[in-house]
């Protein structure tokens, strides 16, 4: 935000941090950046390679395919898929991780949205599904999807993230894996639904009620307890995901959405909301989502997915093709509110430059950050660090590990040594352009 002086003629871009991080204003003036990159020599030679004379390609010489009712992606994009932890459907949880390193912007397309199913995907007939609100209310009520369609709705961008996302970073050694493997249990979508407060008001909340216990229509009837305060704040019964009805794996035909809060609490297939004066201590709050601390104690009710960011490009799985200009891109979000700023370092945290945030910056939603960068071909360590509007900073790894600990053994990348990791992710790039996951 500081140096806003005009540079109308000089073809140069200010270096804002070590190892070639450029001022974010370069993103608005790419021509100048490339002019600058040309002066580095090797990159100049690459970008200056002469183009071939143009002729028509085969697909330009006749009519294409017939228009389908439901669009499919280009088959050239077949590799952009989720990765499955349990593809054969063994009697265990099935995780599908979103390919965040292959996506841009802030919206996760519905077929690629991460899902975790503990007992498979129920095949719910939307006309038969019901939602009841009962317990400490004046009048228990039943809602059908048809009824809910007549209620006032809101549309908001929100991320959903598993409390166990990024768990591989609790490993004492950095696991060599993509953003998809490390952080793919997180996604962001535009959700449309009915504010839960309207439905609770209609049922008439007993002033002594303090919690709501939401339960799904899945085989395990997964249930979680949420403070009523959150239920009356920004919770919604979501019916639409990116403009269409929810994906079956994301809770079709309706789910509880608790913006910014631990994924498992966002009850999918929600069929029952019971108001109580105490938490139910369901299995998932009693055990799974109460993370252990190094001294043997454990956190209880770790509701919020705290401020986090990671660079998606370049990242593990990519390689840099020689020195020159690159565009660093990543995702930041906070369960507390809006992302305030993201800093990027190319020297392992010695110096930092402020990244450009792609607006609009929505609360409790993915925010895309970008940073122009001119790589000189020397080894670097790329990192990002986010702050949210409440002033929370993404913790540095040393501080985070001092508080939360790390694994004694090197876990499987699909394992969950602990949960609620929100420290930094570092990518080490060597002089050949190879990218490794490192700790810094």
């Amino acid at each position: 935000m500081s140096a806003k002086k005009k540079r109308s003629t000089v073809p140069d871009v200010e270096v804002v941090a070590g190892n070639g991080l450029l001022h974010r204003r370069a993103l608005l003036r790419s021509g100048i950046v490339f002019a600058g990159a040309m002066t580095t020599g090797a990159a100049g030679a690459l970008t200056a390679a002469a183009a071939e004379p143009l002729t028509d390609d085969p697909w330009s010489k006749g009519p294409g395919a017939i228009t389908p009712v439901l669009q499919q992606r280009s088959h050239f994009e077949d590799k952009v898929v989720r990765t499955l932890s349990n593809p054969t459907g063994k009697p265990a949880t099935q995780h599908a991780r979103a390919p965040l390193h292959l996506l841009e912007g802030t919206v996760t397309p519905n077929p690629l949205h991460f899902t975790i199913l503990h007992t498979g995907i129920p095949d719910i007939d939307p006309d038969q599904h019901r939602l009841v609100i009962h317990g400490m209310v004046r009048q228990p009520l039943e809602f059908t999807l048809d009824t809910l369609m007549r209620y006032p709705m809101v549309t908001r961008m929100h991320f959903v993230e598993c409390g166990g996302n990024s768990a591989p970073l609790f490993s004492k050694e950095p696991l060599q894996a993509t953003v998809q493997a490390l952080h793919g249990l997180s996604s962001c979508a535009e959700w449309t639904g009915v504010p839960l407060s309207i439905l609770l008001d209609e049922a008439g909340v007993d002033p002594k009620a303090k919690w709501l216990v939401a339960e799904g229509a899945d085989a395990a009837a997964i249930d979680r307890s949420t403070p009523l305060k959150k239920g009356m704040d920004d919770a919604m019964i979501a019916l639409y995901q990116n403009g269409e009805r929810l994906m079956p794996g994301n809770g079709y035909p309706m789910r509880l959405l608790l913006p910014g809060w631990e994924g498992n609490m966002n009850t999918k297939f929600v069929r029952r909301i019971q108001l109580t004066d105490q938490p139910a201590m369901s299995y998932y709050e009693e055990r799974n989502y109460s993370p252990l601390l190094p001294d043997g104690k454990a956190y209880r009710f770790y509701f919020i997915n705290e401020v986090k960011s990671f660079i998606t490009q370049p990242s593990f799985g990519y390689a840099l093709k020689g020195p020159g200009y690159y565009h660093i891109s990543g995702i930041a979000y906070s369960g507390t509110g809006r992302v305030e700023k993201v800093l990027v370092s190319a020297d392992g945290g010695k110096s930092w430059g402020e990244a450009a945030l792609q607006g609009p910056v929505n609360p409790k939603a993915y925010t895309r950050f970008r940073m122009p960068w001119r790589w000189d071909g020397q080894p670097v360590i790329l990192q990002s660090r986010a702050w949210d509007e409440a002033g929370n900073a993404q913790p540095l790894r040393a501080d985070f590990i001092a508080l939360r600990g790390q694994s004694k053994t090197v876990p499987n990348v699909l394992g969950f040594p602990n949960n609620h990791y929100n420290s930094l992710t570092s990518w080490g790039i060597d002089s050949k352009g190879e990218i490794k996951h490192v700790y810094a």
Partner: protein, 180 residues
């Protein structure tokens, strides 16, 4: 806003209030269908830590052992250990195990009611909610007895189960107390 529009708004508000069914908040559509707690009973399986909603019935460790061998041991192992699913008996030191220690009923859980609730709700994996309340009490008695939280002849019912003491109770730190 003009006086005319304010008057119109006030009139609309009065109409809404007048039209709202008695006992309902006036500012909601009022389309929820009243249902009785009795009609929700078939779905209302949540057991609260103070024992609220525990059903009638009881079970002993011996009864539980027979049911366990038949319906649970396939995944959880004979006597609750060594199976493909989580161990139900014993557990290492949480301090020695570090942050990735296996969290078990013995070393981690705090609320005995969670065991009844979860077994009845979600187990056995392929046939959730197929066990009778007697069977669930029996399995709880068996598992608590194997962990030495109750005696071999103690039975579990709506009165005794919530009183079972689990050793790790009290080792939890509320992460976001301000949110509750």
């Amino acid at each position: 806003m003009s006086t005319h529009r304010l008057k119109a708004l006030a009139a609309a508000l009065l109409l809404t209030l007048a039209a709202a069914p008695s006992g309902r908040a006036a500012d909601t559509p009022g389309l929820g269908k009243p249902i009785s707690e009795a009609d929700i009973k078939g779905w209302n399986i949540t057991i609260l830590p103070d024992g609220t909603n525990l059903p009638a019935g009881s079970g002993s460790p011996a009864q539980g052992a027979a049911i366990f061998a038949q319906k649970c041991a396939g995944c959880h192992g004979e006597a609750g250990k060594g199976g493909s699913a989580r161990m139900l008996v014993g557990g290492g030191s949480l301090v020695a195990g570090g942050i990735e220690a296996e969290k078990t009923i013995a070393n981690f859980w705090a609320d005995p009611t969670t065991l009844f609730d979860y077994i009845r709700r979600a187990m056995p994996w392929p046939q959730p909610r197929s066990l009778s309340n007697e069977e669930v009490y029996s399995l709880c008695a068996y598992i608590f007895s194997l962990n030495k939280f109750i005696g071999e002849n103690d039975t579990m019912d709506a009165q005794t189960l919530p009183k079972v003491k689990l050793p790790n109770k009290g080792n939890f730190i509320i992460k976001f107390p301000g949110q509750i």
